[in-house]
Symmetry: D3
């Protein structure tokens, strides 16, 4: 394993990481982090309507198409690694073995921080389930008695990335990340999602408007940074700093 | 005005800044920031029981004693400047002129960040009033039409420092600051508060326990920083960053 | 299936739908909706104290009695259909097959809106579980890849009906329904619940007082509607309208 | 006064009603409502940076420019009436006479519903103040003993329109309004705001994305309405209905 | 002043204490407490619709009628004392002198606990204002420097009594008081409120249903106390006890 | 079974009851209650880092060491009984049989009140799981149809004891218990936890500072009780009382 700092993205379905954290992935990869993406499922049943409308579609075909799209998107973002757990979706459910697999990944990656979904989502219970599992597995990965002898996980921050209807999910961003420099990569990754073209413009709008929020919060017309695109995140744990 | 980065602390009463932000003040001053403390009142009526128990105490005497204590504490912390608005306490009320005075200070100091009280305090309505006024004055200081021609304020973060009963005030820290290196200064400042000796041990315990929280959140037994003393703060506005 | 608009009521135990949504059921049925009630359990273990106090009571007898009461109540309300899943209570737990059964019902009924319990209930974890399952099944019923070829569910509103101690459950009604015209039916359904006579007056009081709330919120003494009985509901999803 | 149904919009500053409720204004006016807009201030000090950057700008000039822009926008929306209270901004403060003036308007207009700002806004305390005053005046307008003999106000809903950073203000929309048919009018009104051109694209993005939320919540790919532009609102009071 | 324990009730309008705390008043008076009621206003403008509907009603007449009703109610409850501040209603506003008057009462009464309104009330801003003032005056009454030499107030609990629409006010009771033994007195006090007869049945229903909540929370069918009438209260401050 | 009043403590891991409720246990035992502690797990994997750092440590050894420590602590506190469910930790999971075992204990102990963890804990999902299970089992223990013929449980209060980072867990104490008289016992129990010596000072600080909170809330400098050590608890259910 290299000495690079690392990031772990836990995505309930194969496309979530693109819309919600594509900028953070591309940016940290450019900054020398190794970013690992774990797709718990392909979103094969619930987020592939366009594919299912094709005559004779089968589950395996849909999964394969989603796999290909997600890999292409990860490549467009320059992500270090992408893994697929294929745990099934709508509903997503990880048994103990799958959870242990995620614990293993956490210990192997040893992320500086992790990214996952909002705590609440009345539209999509898979999303909140993914975060619940991430919290549980973070705790297990920190346990000295889980696979004794392995190096235990530290205390990586868990950032919740932006859900589709922020206010309905009770999601409140406490940090905005300037992704202007990697916007082209994020847009390219977005365009890999052939099955969800109706979302391309939506998430471009989101990125532009978060850019406005970044400008305002960094000083506005009195010295704010001219970010054109940004992403927002909500932190679960307090930060520890040397300087405010 | 120097080119140093700056901090503005808005303290409802003369001693609040010591218990709640003494470490942050001393630390940032050491790091080259210029820290300005504004005491909106002396806490002369409501937080000076020991002085009032002295035979024949008068309001002016109590204010003078509190003024002296606060100046000594600011000096112990190495603070760049301390100012007293003498707006009265229990209740604290700023008229428009006093508010404009605070706006002027904000524009003059141009703080990188500000520090004040929790949003809610059912024990001490002065505390929440101070934060309410700070928010209002921050908004006015940003207005191009307030004293046109003056340089307007940017968008400084507002950190809420730790209240006396955190859970009752609905205060939740999202950042811990390691103040181990300046603990001696904070303790010295605390000991300037002769009238409130019953709080010395209390806030020493707080600093030690926040040190434990710092250690846990920076990695715990798997690489956490060995902070011995810390302070916690709650942010009002989202941060804007280049890296998570 | 007829062209009528439809409603689906998901009731954790056999009697919940009566106290909490009996008026809505009777009213919408009168307006031409077809209302389907699903009782996930009979409440046979936890909500049948009176029956268990009878010498020699058995689980089957209690279930049968509760089945009969609930059917009588549904009939009194004029409900289109009532179904019993018999999933067990205290605790209520649906396995994947039972959940799929509920998904099937959702797809078959295609409700304009659904009704279930509050999100939180520290007295009765079955209640909040029922709502959690309803949300999960709503999501699955919307998935194009679940039983491909079937017509998927749209986006029916989910209304939470009134729990027994509203404030303890964090339940807040955002809509009041005038049930004055069907009050006699609701009262008749209530009186079918022979095992819980101690609740008849309680829920009559609730209906009267919600009538007062209806009057106030529709204009009070300055033009409010003279509703004598009402029911309150909390919406999970935002409404979509042409006119405010 | 005509027999039309009416709407009252309470806007803290002269431009707020455009970005946040322009669609609702134009749409209800088209539907036969008479919409009255009250601008409590011009936003002359705090929301006119571009005007203040002009050499020699005076407060009167800025107010006049803002007045003209707001009137043009109201005309573009087809609003029945627009009134200016000129109560001053940054900070906005209404004395008892000004408040009584607002009470008089409420009684004269007798709105079916009212529109104002979010309950909380740490960036702009004028916004939350406007809503606080609206609530207080609504209460006074309902009092039989305030100007006895006048017709008292009923119980109009108070909708909170969308603030600039929804999550920071704790604003959660519970209703989406399809404004596709009047989008051209709203865009025209937006373009009247010459001093804030940097917000045109932002609020166009907002309208498009709220259109997506409308589509999803009205049924999505399974029958959702094809709204292209929408606005969101949060209700303060429960609705009273005959049918869910 | 006697050695009795004491209670202070702060009522925004002349009738509030009857509906919301009449049982607590009568019960504690019977137990040997001296209960003092302070009516900040008569509710003359906003809560006397019936009186204003009488031909030629004047403000003084309405106040006198309300004064008489409130005194009769206090007498029916056996209250030790009732005082009227006549500070005006809709809106209620206390200047510094009026607030000091309330501070004086607090110091004179030295209550074991106090009773006032909910923290939030979007229907009636007078209600939340009364609680805000009560909190501020409690703080001032505790200040050694306010009228030095007087005995300062301890730390009496502040209980919020039940508002008219509990869920809309975010009010959550954490204690239920059995008022069965004094119900007749409360009902008699209620019937003193000739101007608001439409509320008699409403608050009788409330008392009965809170009786049910009392029974449930004291043990239900497994040993619960057979309370027939109860009142609920929300505590602002934590209790201090010797035994849980 | 004796006629003593009883308490049931549900501790996720073997040491939790010591830090968080040791004072309450010792105090109520002294007052004549019989206190039963149930440790759902030993905390063998996740809270025994020091033991795992020993060469060749095995799971059984760690469990045995934790068992011994917990028994010694229970003895130091004078607890009536301590039981170990050995359900495993990190993650803690109780199957139906284990849950029924806990139901049986509840029915056998018939506690006046119960103690368990906070509702939310993003650091330690075992903690919130323990409380969730306690709520579910309390409900089952109240069901007349669960093991018909057995005496059902009443409605014991559930107090949540203090978590390690109160604000992050959203835990708010509403009652403080004076544990000054039993502090020596609690400290002795704390010192039984040889594996977690780094927490001894932390929880001594907590007890001292909660003592300050007790003093303040019981009257402060105007008659407050001179508690030197205290514990705080959050109640889930409302209390039922005869006197406020």
């Amino acid at each position: 394993m290299s000495d690079n700092k690392t990031v772990l993205v836990v995505s309930a379905h194969a496309a979530d990481f693109v819309w919600r954290a594509g900028g953070a992935i591309a940016l940290h990869q450019e900054k020398g982090y190794d970013v690992t993406i774990v797709c718990l499922s392909y979103g094969e049943r619930g987020e592939s309507a366009k594919l299912w409308k094709q005559e004779g579609a089968t589950l395996d075909q849909v999964k394969a198409a989603r796999h290909a799209e997600a890999e292409a998107a990860a490549k467009a973002l320059g992500a270090h690694d992408i893994q697929f757990m294929d745990a099934g979706d709508y509903p997503l459910e990880l048994d103990r073995d799958k959870k242990n697999e995620l614990v293993d990944i956490m210990r192997r990656v040893r992320p500086t921080f992790m990214l996952s979904h909002s705590l609440y989502d009345p539209y999509n219970t898979d999303h909140m389930y993914a975060t619940k599992v991430t919290m549980e597995c973070r705790m297990i990965a920190q346990a000295w008695g889980h696979n004794p002898g392995e190096q235990v996980l530290g205390a990586p921050q868990l950032y919740l990335f932006e859900p589709h209807q922020t206010e309905q999910m009770g999601w409140k961003p406490d940090v905005f990340l300037d992704i202007t420099d990697v916007w082209d990569k994020k847009r390219a990754a977005i365009e890999c999602m052939q099955g969800q073209e109706h979302l391309w413009q939506f998430y471009t709008n989101v990125a532009e408007n978060r850019g406005n929020h970044f400008r305002r919060n960094s000083g506005g017309q009195a010295g704010g940074r001219n970010a054109r695109y940004a992403e927002g995140f909500q932190s679960i744990y307090p930060r520890t700093v040397d300087e405010l």
